[in-house]
Amino acid sequence: MWASIGLSAVAMGVLAIAFALLLVWASRTFAVKNDPRIEMLTNLLPGANCGACGFSGCSGFAKAAAEGKAPADGCRAGGPSVAAKVAEVLGVKASGFKRQVAHVFCSGTEALAKRSADYEGWEDCRAADLVGGGGKDCAFGCLGLGTCVKSCLFGALSMGPDGLPIVDTERCTGCGICAQVCPRGVIQLVDADRRTFVNCVSPAPGKLVRQVCSAGCIACNICQRTCETGAIHVVDNLAIINPDACTACGKCAAKCPTHVIECLGPQEEAEPLAAGQAVQ
């Protein structure tokens, strides 16, 4: 019996050592040189794998950044702090990272937007958009089924009581997933320091907008005439604000007959208003 125990111990030992040596040899021979920065970068990134950078997850971005195929400030979710760290690892100068947040460009709350049908299908804006465009009469506004809320990885979106999504700008990382899933293009990324918005995306003529929604842009040109810095232009039946020229004086918002212009006031500390409301 002792002989067979000894023999098996020797056989196992010899085999184990042989295999171990084989693996050691193999790991040296077949070693793949990985850029050590890739791992460092992967650890720096938020790890949400949101894909806003355009690469397959955080590791994909780390690899691309190390190879110089992605900009140092490419991580939207990480914001300026991550961009600075990434730039440090890569040995490049951090470019001016402009924080962006999502914004809901629609004022058509349940009370203000006309509704002449009930949608009872799958609770998803994309599905509702395919079959007749949900219940609202406006063919451009928010469908209110919350696909953006479900898509948000960071819990920055919630569905408000009036049927429009609300962006928590503190939590929003500007990854842009909500803007991608919104079939109407109602959610768009804007610079975080932008103060004035025209909360409507409808390119329909003013008369048609009036018929379906009492809070849409009717392209009346009052804001364009009011603006002292020439920041507002009505293009394709929709007022467009140039944020670089806007001084956030709030005069356009005060004059807007449908209150579709939202102005947060010139100071950063100004109390943010809920989407759809306007400064009177």
């Binding site: 067979s4 023999l7 098996s8 056989a11 196992m12 085999l15 184990a16 295999f19 084989l22 693996l23 193999a26 790991s27 077949f30 070693a31 793949v32």
Partner: protein, 196 residues
């Protein structure tokens, strides 16, 4: 060993004694990685590869080490050692020479270490009197049979995504029922060829 007998061995290992549906080995990966058709194919390819290589090495160890020294009772431990080592080695080689294949295999390659059908093939070969050629045919046949089963399962489960499944049957319960019905179908192969 005639050519006809080798064909019979192949069909027998792939269909009649299908590893998943007749021997019930490798069920964990069969249920775990059968959600998408392409990943099921990837897993199947990895299994065929590792199964063939590990069966050949196990055959050699059994024949030239365990049998001469009367150490057959060690076969479980040693075969696990062989499989684990071999999967590691394979991973390194693939990573070096074919990064795209490495990306495609992904997590499935390490997962194969714990796939009991690999050990099953090694043990069945060790318990038989197969020569090297027969071992090769048996291992390739078993691997392809395993792939066939998991690909069929993945195809069915992909179709099920569009089906209105009752709440009580959703998920693993329906998967197990499907596996059982597929297994019944494969039981029909038994006895088609005597002594297989």
């Amino acid at each position: 060993m005639s050519f006809g007998a080798l064909i019979l061995l192949f069909v027998g290992s792939a269909l009649i004694n299908n590893f998943i549906l007749s021997r019930f080995l490798g069920i964990c990966a069969f249920l775990g990685v059968s959600r998408r058709l392409d990943t099921a194919l990837g897993m199947g390819a990895a299994v065929v590869f590792v199964m063939t290589c590990s069966a050949l090495i196990s055959w050699a160890i059994q024949r030239y080490l365990l049998t001469p020294f009367k150490l057959q009772f060690l076969e479980y431990v040693i075969f696990i050692l062989v499989i684990a080592t071999f999967v590691q080695l394979l991973e390194m080689v693939i990573k070096k020479y074919s990064p795209s294949l490495y990306e495609a295999f992904g997590i499935y390659l390490p997962l194969i270490t714990t796939n009991c059908s690999i050990l099953g093939v090694a043990l069945l070969v060790a318990g038989s009197s197969y020569n090297l050629l027969q071992t090769l045919v048996f291992a390739v046949g078993s691997g392809l049979g395993w792939t066939l089963a998991i690909v069929m399962m993945a195809g069915l489960r992909e179709e099920l995504d569009f089906a209105d499944v009752p709440l009580s049957l959703q998920g693993s319960s329906l998967s197990l029922l499907i596996a059982a019905i597929m297994s019944l179908a494969f039981a029909g192969f038994a006895g088609v060829v005597p002594n297989l």
